[in-house]
Structures are given as structure tokens and as C-alpha cells.
Symmetry: C2
Subunit: 472 residues, 2 copies
């Protein structure tokens, strides 16, 4: 037997040279190989390129503080310990929509040089206008390259390259000594794609078992993709990075004005409009609240970007390996299924979701949505760009105005768009708008609110559906 298990985590990361590119699994705390990142941070390796969904935790903080990372390719490259590096010009940034990240890794690991994805069409991620380097004032000083756009069957797609990082960090629930891996629940997420893509895959396993102990039919990553294994039992794990809602800007706006629909009523409006049997992805914040207002008789299935169909609200007993797309503990409905991030975004991109509801910073009269980035208020793109191009319906739930009282429904978005011409409905505390055939129409007015009141807080012109302001 070729035993891939090494004796220490220092040995596991010891072969990584300066300048290496390293893809890292995990989605929030679940499946995140924190101990490998931590061990790497205790070496003197520098000039690193980190490819991952996000970058929280102490190991990354040390790498950032010691200026040892040259480039971040991430869904969430902003925030926390990275900002000082990013907004100083020291780090190059590549913003990767989650589905593009997982698919680029999976493609690299499948020998596919490049592929055409609908995600990010019409946005700064693909048209060359997003910064890749900022100065100390946060001003862009270099920009990403524009990507090739090509039409297939009348729809536009972006050419993305397969990724082959030098190393991959993976956290597995179980590994046999040959390198076959098994992941519990949503700890799978990006880990299989990382293992496929990396030229040298280093695994930290909560449990190391003997060959034959894993059912061949239930191996999630075959041994051929794995090079080095180190045991890090649960009891030796560092505290996981705090599980918190990633702060999409829409969620940190001020509280809604005390008129119109309450947050709960707004969520109820969405829940009421969700159709029977739909597969639905709800963004963090108000959208996720809508899940509380979809009765079981509707047979709606909730999708989570991290690799879950059949999410079912807060669990009685939290399991760190079972979290939603915001990193919060989640329960499973009967009939749920779990898969990796590549499959999760396959479901998104291929149009299998009937609906996504997202938070919004701005929506334009033409259906453009901006919800992931504004200068100095950076968060990260997450799965939003994949969702707006993939789901059959895109609804936005947001406060009607920003915390300064400025309209968020505009003639044109001033923030960089998440998607262009994608929004079909807008739910705010003041009412509900429909966007069809380029027409913005107010279809429901909150009790106690006048159409004039809404007009005064809406930049874009809109029509009013007959009966929209009838009390429900």
C-alpha cells in the first residue's frame, strides 16, 4: 500500500514553495481546512496566491498581516484582515463568482482548458472595468482583463479558463490511507473541486481509516486526486471562524422606515407569491425570512449555494458540518440531498431553480441589479452573479431607500451591476413592483402608503396597476 498519511501538519505543508498558488476548500467554517492554513501561516512561505470562496480565520489573518499573499482569487476578497492588504496595492484581487470558482476548479481537474458560462455577462467582472489593484485611498490603479464574450443560441456567455493551482487544501470527514475521501453533510462544498484541480492535494482528515473501510459507492473523492493526508481530529481543531451572516450590503442598511410593510410582512408577501413545487434560492437577510411564510402544502424546496436541496430552517441541535449559505446551522427537510459546489452551481446555471430572491443595493428600471459592491462598502459577490443569470425568476427584496433616504430604484444603477436586465420583481416595505418587457409597474401598495409617497422615493418612473393600492 502506498500510504499517503504523513506524521505532522508541518510535514504536510512543508513542500509548498514561495510563490505557490493554493486553492482552499470550505464554505464558511464547514469543510474549511483551517489547520492547514494555520500551519502554512506558521512557515515563512511568501508570495502566495490564494484561491478560495472566502478568507476568514487566524491563519489568513497572519498571512495578511505579514504581507505574504500576492494575489487573492475569491468570492469574498474584501473585508476582515484582507482590506489593509487589498487597499494598499500589495495584493492583486480577482473576484470570482462562486459558481465560476467551482466550475473553473472542476474544469481544470477535468482537463477542460476553458468553458463558456452565462455568469458575469454584462458586469465589471467580465468587461474589464473592475479593479484588480487599488491604491491606499481605495482608488483603482489596475483593472482586470476583459473576457471574451460569445453568443450561443442567442444568449451571451463568458469564456473562463480551467484552474490548475499548484496545491489544494482540503478538509475531509474521513480519508483512507490511499486517499479516498468522504465528507459529512455540507462540509463537502468546494473540497472535491479543489482536490480535482490541484496538482498536489493536501488533505486534513478528521478521521483516518484503513483502505476498505469506506464503501466504494460512497467515496466522494477518489484517491487518484489526493497526494498527502494528515490527521486532524475534531478535538484538535482550532475554533472555527465565527459563523456569521456574510454581510451583503443590503443587509446592513438602516432599519426600514416605520411605515409600510414590516420586515415580516415583506417576507410574507414573497412567501405568498412563491409557486407550488418550486425550487427556490433565498439570499441572506429579508429573502431568507420568506422561508418562514411558505407553507408545507406548497412543496417548495429550498436550495443553498453551498450544496444543499431541502434546507429546513434552524436545527434543534446545530451541527458544524451542516450550514446554510450564510454559514448558519441549518436543518434538513425529509428528502433533502447534499452535493458539492460544482453540482450546486450546475443546478443554478442550467435553469433548474424556479426562483431566486436576493437583497439589493440598487435596481434599475431596466431590471439591472447591483447588490455586491460599492466603493468603501465592499462585501463580495458570492453566488449572486450565478443566481441572477441562472434562475428562472429573479426577485429582489430590499428597503425602498438607502439609509440616507436616497432612492434605490433608479433609472440606471450607479454601483457596478450583479446582472443586467435580470430582475422581474421588487419587494420593498412600500410595495411590490413588477418588471416585465422593460416596464416598471407598481402592482401592490403597502397599507397606509400613497402612490405619491412611493413616487417621491423612487427615481425611475413607473406605472401603477389598477387596484394596486386597494387595501389587501
Amino acid at each position: 500500500m502506498i500510504d499517503k498519511v504523513v506524521g505532522s501538519i508541518e510535514e504536510a505543508v512543508g513542500r509548498i514553495p514561495d510563490g505557490a498558488s493554493i486553492a482552499v476548500g470550505g464554505f464558511g467554517g464547514a469543510g474549511f481546512p483551517a489547520e492547514l492554513v494555520d500551519a502554512l501561516s506558521r512557515t515563512d512561505r511568501t508570495g502566495l496566491h490564494i484561491i478560495a470562496n472566502g478568507g476568514g480565520g487566524d491563519g489568513y489573518a497572519r498571512l495578511a498581516a505579514e504581507h505574504r499573499v500576492r494575489k487573492l482569487s475569491m468570492g469574498f476578497p474584501f473585508g476582515g484582515s484582507w482590506n489593509a492588504e487589498v487597499f494598499s496595492g500589495r495584493i492583486e484581487v480577482e473576484v470570482l463568482p462562486q459558481g465560476t470558482l467551482s466550475e473553473r476548479l472542476r474544469a481544470g481537474g477535468a482537463g477542460i482548458a476553458a468553458f463558456y458560462t452565462p455568469t458575469s455577462v454584462g458586469t465589471a467582472i467580465s468587461d474589464g472595468t473592475f479593479p484588480k489593484r487599488f491604491d491606499a485611498e481605495g482608488n483603482p490603479i489596475e483593472f482586470v482583463e476583459a473576457k471574451e464574450i460569445r453568443e450561443f443560441d442567442g444568449r451571451s456567455y463568458v469564456l473562463e479558463r480551467g484552474l490548475r493551482p499548484d496545491f489544494g487544501f482540503v478538509k475531509a470527514s474521513k480519508a483512507d490511507r490511499l486517499g479516498n475521501l468522504y465528507f459529512r453533510l455540507t462540509s463537502r462544498n468546494f473540497n472535491p473541486s479543489v482536490a480535482m484541480a490541484a496538482r498536489c492535494t493536501i488533505v486534513q482528515a478528521q478521521e483516518i481509516v484503513e483502505p476498505g473501510d469506506l464503501d466504494p459507492n460512497e467515496v466522494h473523492v477518489p484517491a487518484v486526486f489526493v497526494d498527502v493526508i494528515v490527521g486532524v481530529p475534531v478535538e484538535a481543531e482550532l475554533p472555527r471562524p465565527p459563523r456569521r451572516r456574510s454581510s451583503r450590503v443590503a443587509d446592513v442598511d438602516g432599519a426600514p422606515e416605520p411605515i409600510g410593510f414590516s420586515r415580516e410582512q415583506l417576507a410574507r408577501n414573497i412567501g405568498r407569491d412563491i409557486g407550488e413545487g418550486w425550487f427556490v434560492n433565498l439570499g441572506l437577510g429579508i429573502p431568507l425570512l420568506a422561508a418562514n411564510y411558505v407553507g408545507p402544502e406548497k412543496n417548495v424546496t429550498m436550495h443553498m449555494e453551498n450544496g444543499l436541496l431541502g434546507a429546513g430552517g434552524s436545527p434543534e441541535v446545530p451541527d458544524p458540518d451542516l450550514t446554510d449559505a450564510g454559514g448558519q446551522p441549518v436543518a434538513l427537510r425529509t428528502g433533502a440531498s447534499i452535493f458539492d459546489s460544482a453540482l450546486s452551481f450546475a443546478i443554478v446555471r442550467a435553469g433548474y431553480l424556479d426562483l431566486t430572491v436576493l437583497g439589493g443595493l440598487q435596481v434599475s428600471a431596466g431590471g439591472d441589479l447591483a447588490n455586491w459592491y460599492m466603493p468603501r462598502g465592499q462585501t463580495g459577490v458570492g453566488g449572486a452573479m450565478d443566481l441572477v443569470r441562472g434562475a428562472k425568476r429573479v426577485w429582489v427584496a430590499m428597503e425602498h431607500t438607502d439609509r440616507d433616504g436616497n432612492p434605490k430604484i433608479l433609472n440606471e444603477c450607479t454601483f457596478t451591476p450583479t446582472g443586467v436586465g435580470v430582475v422581474q420583481r421588487i419587494y420593498t416595505e412600500l410595495g411590490v413592483f413588477s418588471l416585465e418587457d422593460g416596464t416598471l409597474e407598481l402592482i401592490e401598495v403597502a397599507p397606509g402608503v400613497s402612490v405619491d409617497y412611493i413616487r417621491a422615493r423612487t427615481e425611475a418612473p413607473f406605472t401603477v396597476r389598477e387596484g394596486a393600492d386597494a387595501d389587501p
Copy 2:
């Protein structure tokens, strides 16, 4: 609960209209939804487009005999009941290398419009010279379109489109009523990719279980991809199509001349040269025999195209759900793993196999291999085109001359190539050749054979390594 189970197989296939495209899972008999194909054949639907690895069994035979198929997209479109249709001009043929078939389905099911694969570069499949329609004399009368070739990092790739067939036929070991699927052993193969790609996926399940009976962590296909389920218990299944070695032409050549290495010695030569710890794919025929001559101390892992690492020879008790790439029952080594066809060819294309050994019809001095098609001796391409472009080493095992005594090691191949400049070694009953830097070198001569004897049977000029003809 939205219960997707219907009461009869007639109802399951009843919604298929004339002209539909239908992707069908299965690899040989394992995972092949024979009863769905049979039920389709009992309808009057016509003008069908079948997308599958192969097309054996009674249902296809009826569809062919009744001229109800307009197009075949297959790894093995020739042979059996199809030849009368194909070689009459009635059916359009699209030859799909197995890895391209699985990846095109997976891409379609992942919202990827198109991708660049290394498979089929330099061959008639991509350069527009392979026929898509033949006349009654077997002469080509129409040709496939040339595909776009593009270079990435100095290597050439072919642009292939994602597939979205109208319908998918899938055979699952277990399905819950919501549509979550589980596959036993190598019955998984193409089925998950078919389910992802098809706009309407129809599943025949050996066992129907209640939601919650499948472990969410071990669902192979989530319910979102499934539309209709019909129960076909094992005891109600038709006899599976005869499991036979698919007849690559190289295997039906005449017996080796009674001089030089025997088949067993030839296989032993290959086994001897396989390196320690290698991941190896052995083609049918002589190559597969080599597995018998690789000692366990070498820790070699055998890969099978249908989705298996750790194949281990003939089993004590055959299981129809556990077969090798030739459809024969196979055993599992300790530490084996099973996966779907898309992942199987990801392993191939991304360069994770250290070696493939294939049969050959012809090999040129420049390392071109022809092993899948010759006029009137058509078989099918299977996984060979993926393997020759993906594996780190490509060795060929074949008889030195064809059954008429003509050389098979040529200046140029006259048959359509499987791959160009890909072969590094040739094993025949007369000796072993190395092909490096464009030089064909005889490195080992069989006992009792002279170099002159070999030269007389080899068209391409070759050098002789010092000591090559020393008795071993």
C-alpha cells in the same frame, strides 16, 4: 409531497413526441434502462435522435428495424441492428468519444454552453472529414462539420457544445418519490450526466423508497433533475443485453503467428514495465491481460472508463451492477472507488492516469495510433480518443501484422487516427518498440526472432537499441 412516480412504463414514455432527442444512460448492460427503451419501441414514436454510449438490446433493434431513428450520437454507433440503418443513408451518425459524450451532457446540465477539450484533436471527429451519412455501399455521402480548434498554453483543444436533450432515460437502483436517486456500483456511469442534461428525465428504478429513506449525503442525483419515475423491479427486468467484449478491431485480428512472444508473454512484458504506484487504464484484449502480470507489491490501481478505480479481475460472484469497461463482471480491490462517467473521464483528461495500454490497428513512425475504425470493419471509438490525449503514457499492444500479413507499424496510418503523435511504446509478439522524439527504436526482440525478420514485417524504418536482441 409532489410524487413523481407514475403507474406504468407506458405512461412514463407516453409524453415523448415524434422527433424527440433522448439521452440514455448505461454502459454495456449496467445501468442501462432497457425497459424504458423497450417501452419506447412499443409506441409509434418516430424521427428520434438517440444519444448514448452504445445501442444494444431488443428495444433499439426494434427502433432500428422500423426506421424510427433519424440520428445516433454514440460512442458505438456501428454494429448490430444499426448497420442496416446507418449504411443505407437513413440514419445520421455522430461519433462521440465517451469522455466527450459525458462532458457534453454534464456541461448542458450545468448551464455551460461549450467547452474546450483535448479529446479528438487531429482526428476526423474534429476536422470535418468523418462521414455523418453513408450510402448503401458504405460510401460517405455527407460529412460532419469541422470543429473549432484553439490553443491554450501551447496545447490544442476542440470546442464542444453542451447537450440539452429533450428527454433522458435513466436506470437507478433506488429512487425516492421526490426523485432523489442512488446507483449501485458501476450502474452509475452515464446516468447522472443524462439526468442533469435532459429537459425531462424519466427514471426506471429497481426500488422506489419514501422520502427520507436515502441518506442525504449519499444521494447521487438530487431530485431537482428528475421528472418522472417508474418502478421496474429487478425481477421484472428484461434479460440484459449480452455482456460481451466490445470488439475493438484489434481484438478480432487473427491469432498471433506461432513465433515470438505468446499473448501471455506479451502481456507479461507490459506488466513488467508498469511502474510502482501507477494509475493505469488497460484496453480490452491483450492490454487487459497485462493486469495478471502486475504484482500486488507494485501498488498499481486499475482505472475503468465506466467509473471505477481499483478494478481487480474476475469476481467470485458476478454482479450485473459491477462490470468493467468491456461489460464483463469485475471484482473490486480493497480501497476501490466508484463514480460517474463524467468524473471518470475528468480523471483521464486531466492527466491523472500514468498509463493507458490500448490495442492498435496501425501505428505510425510519428506515434499516430489508429484503433477504432476502418471502412467495413467499423466498431466504435469508446474512450480511446480521451485516453490517448489524457494519459501520461500511451502504449499499444497488438499483433505485429494484420491477418493478411501486412505491416501495422507504418510510415503513415491509412486508417483514420485515434490520436496523433501520442504513442510512446509498441508491444507486439515480435518485440518492443520505443517512440521518443520522433524516433522509432526497437528496444527488445522476442526470443527466436531476428531483427531482419522484424524489418521485413515493419513498414516504418527503425533503429535498434544496443542489446535489444540479447535473450532475456
